[in-house]
């Protein structure tokens, strides 16, 4: 399934919505979206992953890039991740580097 990423920003919260399979061929689009989001200097980065069905090594690489590009003061939220992707994050330990939520929780995320 083709990968798409859409983005919006509101009140210091940058949100990227990922759909499809995040592999090497898609990683550049994701990376570009992260760079654009980082340029807005958000306080939080929210990755809506409910539509993401697969994440390959290149996808993980890009998440690492996102964390380092945003800096230590920007929390990264990973929302509604599907089980295969959740497992990948767990197996590689990356779930410790982000905040994973089952659903978008405005009370928590937007409490700046």
């Amino acid at each position: 399934m083709a990968f798409t990423v859409t983005s919006d920003e509101k009140n210091g919260i940058a949100r990227l919505t990922l759909v499809g399979e995040l592999d090497a061929s898609a990683a550049n689009d994701f990376r570009t979206a992260i760079e654009e989001a980082a340029g807005l200097r958000p306080k939080r980065l929210v990755l809506m992953m409910g539509g993401l069905t697969f994440m390959a090594s290149a996808g993980l690489r890009t998440l690492v890039f996102a964390k380092q590009k945003m800096g230590a003061n920007v929390d990264i939220y990973v929302i509604a991740v599907q089980e295969p992707v959740r497992e990948t994050l767990e197996m590689t330990g990356f779930q410790h580097s982000v905040i994973m939520l089952d659903a978008y929780d405005a009370a928590e995320i937007e409490d700046l």
């Binding site: 090594s57 290149a58 690492v64 197996m91």
Partner: protein, 703 residues
């Protein structure tokens, strides 16, 4: 301004490339492409072979133009590769002259010695396609990882309690309850257990990529596949074992292992790797071509004048570690693991081989060992030698140390085993072993001594007290493999028994072993599972068993909770008392001017140890004021050991006024009175002496 060196200058069958950089060796990501660099001292031509991941046939073979070779190094940057789905290897042309050590064969596709990930055995135990001409394939790796602030812990050597672990065995048993059994990720789920136990270092048995199918044997009774389970047979020195990663099928084993190291560090636990540089998986002249044999046989292997393989490793070949080229590879490898994976230390399998010259003779000043000791990147890494080899070199106590190297102290193991089973005449040697073996490591200090009673080689602790003889029939070698000199004692019955007296004695003997190990000067090492009485059913060489013989049974955490609790308390006792963890040898003198020597020896009578040939009792006292040469203050510690079959009354040395002896552990007492947590030690009822039960150890603290 754009750099000009990121543009292709050549094209071959649609692939664009340009001359590469000789350094670093291996496949390295560069802007827009991948730099491939490989060397051979004797080859005449080299070809880069690229595969689509998993495909049997190459997608392209790009010959290196002559201009791409500098010295003996071929390098090339290939652009626009899909790094996730590319596998690579090399073909080399050169002379076929076995009598001269040359075995070039351009029909073979060869693994890059510097490959940082290797495909082909992605998931443990999944049978490969044996018709595939290229079994073990180089893969491309990015070095990005989110380490945050992590770095090697640099825990002082004297403070370590090492836990020797097999990655798969630790969590493979269904009782482990982890989400990803038998993997690096599985270990991460059990860090809380390790932390609660109190170990602060895990030493992983080999995790460099190996082929679990290298063993062709089957179980003689069940017919089940036997494996090369331990992995002491390296395919590639720079790649983690894919089959140990839950993400191996996704090619993320590098990330998974790094995540484990990071999480262990976050919990104060160092990571050591058991590294096998003495031989490779290619065997002798009958063995397969995988990598080194076809790239530069004469450089990588020790060869006889007739071109055959020296076999100091007992496995068919011997890596030529003191050839300067091979030495560089070993250094590059360890630097890579130390810097890229934040590894804290290395244990070198059959390390004495690393001190032999290219013709097999032991060197007085081995350049590789010296280079490792003085290397700036490895400066804070712990270096531990298994100071012997299969060629008869035994260097325990004399391994060339350069002020850095520690050793697995096989003499400690042997002496403690014999003493605990009740052999007479060991008291004199036990004095040395309990003090950190100053007779062997006078100038090196007790931290040169890795003290252990059991390790992966040999019986588990439970089996050491349950079997007189090895029972290795299931290995399919007619019970000929494995050591015969185990210094074990079955406590009067071979194997499991319902006899409560024998079982109680066995339990006590295990506690005795832990009490001695954890109060000895030096660095204690515990074998995975011994803390819960893991059994290998009498097998003392389980190198081939991917089954319950090897797997740690987590049900024993509850069924043997008394032993686990005992060990946990003793490790806690060691951590609480720096007087047990001296950096330098004790002297028998009172350096702190407190009225007591730093260590004093006792017997049934205080101040009068019996070191005669019939002695089976021994005690020592450490004065806390002299801990670490008087640099820190600690309590008094007194340890009484009775390996006799009768109880004995031990007269106690008198403490300074105001202090009292308290009981930290008494293996002769039933649980939970057998060990107390720090701060909860009850006062000893008679401060003048203590009855030490038959085959028991008592640990007292004076405060």
């Amino acid at each position: 301004m754009d750099r000009v060196d990121i543009y292709p200058t050549h094209e071959y069958q649609g692939y664009h490339f340009r001359p590469g950089k000789p350094f670093p060796f291996g496949a390295t990501s560069v802007s827009g492409g991948v730099n491939f660099s490989v060397y051979s001292s004797h080859a005449s031509r080299c070809t880069l072979v690229l595969f689509e991941k998993g495909e049997p046939q190459p997608k392209v073979e790009i010959p290196f133009p002559d201009a791409f070779r500098i010295g003996n190094v071929w390098s090339m940057i290939v652009f626009d590769l899909d790094y996730e789905n590319t596998e690579y290897g090399y073909r080399f042309e050169g002379p076929w002259a076995p009598e001269d050590g040359q075995r070039f064969d351009s029909s073979k596709i060869l693994l890059d010695p510097y490959a940082r990930a290797i495909g082909g055995r992605d998931v443990w135990g999944v049978k490969p396609d044996w018709n595939n001409a290229y079994q073990h394939r180089g893969r491309l790796v990015y070095d990005d990882f989110d380490w945050d602030e992590d770095h090697p812990l640099e825990t002082p050597m004297e403070d370590l309690v090492i836990y020797e672990m097999h990655v798969r065995s630790f969590t493979r048993h269904p009782s482990s309850g982890v989400k990803f059994p038998g993997t690096f990720a599985g270990i991460r789920q059990k860090i809380a257990y390790l932390k609660e136990l109190g170990v602060n270092c895990v030493e992983m048995m080999p995790i460099f990529e190996f082929d679990e199918f290298e063993n062709g044997r089957v179980h003689p009774d069940t017919g089940e596949q036997l494996y090369n389970y331990w992995g002491y047979s390296t395919l590639g020195f720079f790649a983690p074992k894919s089959g140990y990663a839950a993400t191996g099928k996704l090619g993320m084993q590098v990330d998974e292992l790094k995540a484990l190291v990071k999480e262990l560090h976050r919990n104060g636990i160092e990571v050591f790797l058991d590294v096998v540089f003495n031989h490779t998986a290619e065997g002798n002249e009958q063995g397969p071509y995988i990598s080194f044999k076809g790239i530069d046989n004469k450089t990588y292997y020790m060869l006889t004048p007739e071109g055959y393989y020296f076999n100091f490793s007992g496995t068919g070949n011997t890596l030529n570690c003191n050839n300067p080229v091979v030495r560089s590879m070993v250094l590059d490898c360890l630097r890579y693991w130390a810097s890229e994976y934040h590894i804290d230390g290395f244990r070198f399998d059959l390390a004495s081989i690393l001190g032999r010259d290219p013709w097999g003779a032991p060197l007085p000043n081995p350049p590789l060992l010296e280079s490792l000791a003085y290397d700036p990147v490895l400066a804070k890494c712990k270096l531990i030698a298994e100071a012997w080899d299969a060629g008869g070199l035994y260097q325990v106590g004399s391994f060339p140390a350069y002020g850095r190297w520690a050793e697995w102290n096989g003499k400690y193991r042997d002496a403690v085993r014999k003493f605990l089973k009740g052999e007479a005449g060991l008291a004199g040697e036990m004095v040395q072993r309990l003090e950190g073996s100053p007779d062997m490591y006078a100038a090196r200090g007790p931290t040169a001594s890795i003290n252990f009673i059991t390790a992966h080689d040999g019986f588990t602790l439970n089996d050491l007290v349950s079997y007189d003889d090895k029972h290795n029939e299931a290995n399919g070698e007619g019970n000929r493999d494995g050591a015969n000199d185990n210094d074990s004692w079955n406590c009067a019955w071979e194997g499991p028994t319902e006899d409560p007296g024998i079982n109680a004695l066995r339990r006590r003997q295990m506690k005795n072993a832990f009490a001695v190990l954890l109060t000895s000067q030096g660095v204690p090492m515990i074998l995975m599972g011994d803390e819960v009485a893991h059994t290998q059913f009498g097998n003392n060489n389980t190198y081939c068993h991917d089954n319950e013989v090897s797997w740690m049974d987590w049900g024993q955490v509850s069924s043997n909770s008394d032993l686990l609790r005992f060990v946990t308390n003793l490790i806690g006792f060691r951590h609480a008392h720096p007087v047990l963890r001296n950096r330098w040898h004790l002297t028998g003198r009172d350096q702190a001017n407190c009225g007591y020597p730093d260590i004093s020896w006792h017997g049934i009578l205080a101040w009068h140890p019996d070191l005669t040939g019939s002695a089976r009792t021994l005690a020592f006292m450490l004065s806390g004021a002299n801990a670490r040469g008087g640099a820190v203050h600690d309590d008094f510690v007194y340890v009484a050991m009775n390996s006799h079959w009768d109880s004995h009354w031990f007269e106690l040395p008198q403490l300074p006024s105001g202090l009292q002896w308290r009981v930290a552990a008494n293996t002769g007492a039933p649980a939970p009175e057998d060990a107390f947590s720090t701060g909860d030690e009850p006062v000893l009822s008679d401060q003048g002496g203590v009855l030490v039960g038959d085959r028991s150890v008592i640990v007292l603290v004076g405060k």
